[in-house]
Amino acid sequence: MRAVARMVGTRRMRSLGLALAVILGGTAGAVVPLATAAGASGSSPSMTLRATGTQARVPSVVLVARLGGRASSPATQAGVSVTFSVGVDEFAGRPRLLLGSGTTDAAGVARFVYHPTWTGRQDFVASVTDATGTLVAQATTTFVVTAAVPPTLSAEATRPDGTLGRYVVGVLLAILVLLWIVLVTVLVRVHRVAGRQPRQAA
């Protein structure tokens, strides 16, 4: 015990205690910004997303994202770019296909009109990122699309000489059929002749 008491009282032990206090203090200081960031995250804008379908002239889905959580500061709600995307299942991992983006108005509302090219249940996502690309807010909604825009709508209009094209298709199909007839006939004739039984010697 005497030895321990002697150690505590030494200069070395005091230095050790000081170093320990500095380390602990530094760690505590590092925790504070994290807690601040979490607090910022907690006060970051929330967002809601709503999808409605229209059948007016072109089948459309109107996506409306409303930014919230910063009601006390309307200036921060206006002019925010909201990115809209839709989940697809063509590739592994259910990636999202980028549809486009809209900018919020003074009420914190961003709209995007999407012309779907396929029908069925679709998952839409609205997201806001900060300047560094970090996700700030995100909202999702599911909507069942009942009418879609035919994918070839514009190609059909720019196709020249559609009537002539139909004849071309007919001619090409006729050539194709003719080729098959010739090849099969050749095959059958040779096979029939080659497979004929030998003639009996006279």
Partner: protein, 539 residues
């Protein structure tokens, strides 16, 4: 005339007895009758690779195209490149055989069966790439079932064209095989085993009672000639149509009017390279050295470099015109391919398929069988890489347009295609399937066109005998009417086709009824081929 000669004369329908070559028949039937020690290990390894590819495809079906490295920016990649490359190489075998038949190039004889077999096996393998390319296999149904047909889609016309070409390839392989079937049947007669029984059934079903009567020969000659002529424009059209899938899409690098020609030349180039490799492998493995000579490779090498030079020029033309057209999309694409992110595969192609084969054939020391085979091996690989360069860069170019952006084009990031084990395994499986199918095929059919070669060799001997006559040394058994200067002597035949393109050849010195007049310039004779089912030949 011996009984065998009489039999062969009857078989070919010609008055000139074809001299059977027992050694040739033995060599040609050796892969059917004997099992080399390496055969089962080779088939096992190749089969295992094919199974690995099937497993990889099953994984892709379960998990989606994403496991193959596809994404929304790299939406076309390795499967399209493989589709183009594998179907392309099939053209080489068929077209080179057809051209050599039409032009009556006699030296073709030992090569045609292997070339046609290569075409026969590579085409279905290439066609299968449409399955992983479509993603969900049930979409195949929409391709083949008429109510779903979209006649505006190049893919549907690809399907029409390639399936028609497959039929033509099968016919073109089958027809020259017919006269060999009795020979093959005689060799397997009395042998035990399931495969031998299968061979007998196969030969009987395919026309094992071929006798070589004049009527049969006329029909076969006509059929081979017709299909040989048909298959050349068909091959051109098929690969042109294959290019429409790219050329009719509005993307820089795809939307090219040069693409159909480009594809056709590439197909022939890579196809002939594969034929060279296949023939070299068959020559080595099945000991065909007595019939396939280094000169065959050198001649194929000349065809190869001619096509390689054309392809190189077309590449230059494409990038020159697109790069300096003043169009931002095209300029960006050319930049990325030539000096940008795709420069390594592009310059690899340029060296391996463009420069090296030309150099190998230009230098006398390397203008050898080994040189041609080495060059061809490089061409096969490099032309596959070139197909990747054709397919991937245009797909990954960012082309999202916006009226807000300067020039209407957003400066987005280029997409990236990353190879994964799935497409690599499927590609390796397809590559392994080609030698595997060839090994299996030649367990059932003679590897050399026996009848055709026997007729060619007989013809060659007759020429040699005729040359002796011109030197004043009549060969034994040659009638005096064939002596130098005698009317109707073979060497005095004029240039032009044989007596009749599809009729049996008369014996030398006896003009065929209705045949060309005799007494032309001396240079004409030896260049004419005999009237064989295979069209004779220039040696």
């Amino acid at each position: 005339m011996s009984d065998q000669q009489a039999s062969d004369a009857a078989r070919t329908g010609s008055d000139v007895p074809v001299r059977p070559r027992e050694n040739l028949r033995t060599v040609a039937m050796r892969p059917v009758l004997e099992t080399p020690r390496w055969w089962w290990p080779a088939v096992s390894v190749l089969g295992a690779i094919v199974v690995l590819g099937i497993v990889a495809w099953a994984v892709q079906v379960a998990d989606g195209l994403g496991v193959a490295g596809y994404n929304d920016q790299a939406f076309w990649a390795i499967y399209e490149a493989n589709l183009v490359a594998f179907i392309g190489v099939s053209y080489g075998g068929a077209v080179v055989s057809a051209i050599l038949r039409i032009t009556k190039a006699g030296w073709r004889a030992p090569l045609t069966r292997i070339a046609e077999a290569t075409a026969l096996v590579t085409l279905p393998v290439g066609m299968l790439f449409i399955v992983p390319h479509l993603g969900s296999p049930q979409r195949i149904w929409e391709l083949v079932w008429p109510p779903y047909w979209n006649l505006s889609s190049p893919i549907l016309w690809d399907f029409f064209a390639v399936s028609t070409y497959l039929l033509a390839t099968i016919v073109f392989f089958y027809l020259p095989l017919v006269p060999d079937l009795p020979i093959a049947a005689a060799r397997v007669q009395g042998r035990e085993g399931v495969r031998m029984r299968a061979c007998r059934v196969l030969y009987r079903a395919l026309g094992g009672s071929w006798e070589g009567r004049a009527s049969q020969r006329r029909l076969l000659e006509g059929a081979i000639g017709l299909v040989a002529i048909m298959i050349i424009p068909m091959a051109v059209s098929v690969h042109s149509v294959l290019s429409f899938a790219f050329a009719s899409s509005s993307r820089a690098g795809y939307l090219e009017t040069i693409l159909p020609v480009y594809f056709v030349v590439a197909a022939l180039y890579s196809g002939i390279a594969l034929v060279v490799v296949a023939i070299a492998a068959a020559r080595r493995l099945f000991h065909l050295e007595a019939y396939i000579h280094p000169r065959h490779f050198v001649r194929l090498g000349f065809i190869l470099v001619a096509l390689g030079a054309v392809y190189l020029y077309l590449t230059f033309t494409e990038y020159l015109v697109d790069g300096y057209s003043g169009t931002a999309d095209l300029a960006a694409w050319v930049h990325q391919v030539v000096v940008g992110r795709y420069w390594i595969p592009f310059w690899f192609y340029f060296l391996a398929a463009g420069v090296v084969p030309l150099v190998l054939m230009a230098v006398r020391r390397t203008r050898t069988m080994a040189g041609v085979v080495a060059g061809s091996s490089l061409v096969v690989v490099a032309m596959w890489v070139k197909r990747l360069v054709i397919v991937i860069p245009p797909a990954t170019e960012p082309l999202v347009r916006s009226p807000l952006a300067a020039g209407g084009v957003l400066a987005g990031d280029w997409g990236t295609y990353r190879f994964t084990w799935v497409p690599i395994s499927i590609t390796l499986a397809a590559t392994a399937a080609i030698p595997l199918l060839l090994l299996v095929l030649f367990r059932f059919v003679p590897i050399l066109p026996v009848t055709e070669m026997e007729e060619m060799e007989t013809y060659e001997e007759e020429i040699a005998e005729a040359v002796e006559i011109t030197a004043g040394v009549p060969a034994p058994g040659i009638p005096a009417s064939l002596a130098r200067g005698a009317p109707g002597a073979y060497v005095n035949r004029p240039l032009g086709p044989p007596a009749s393109a599809f009729a049996p050849a008369p014996p030398l010195g006896h003009p065929a009824p209705g045949g060309p007049p005799l007494g032309g310039p001396i240079a004409g004779g030896p260049l004419d081929g005999p009237a064989t089912p295979f069209g004779g030949g220039q040696r």
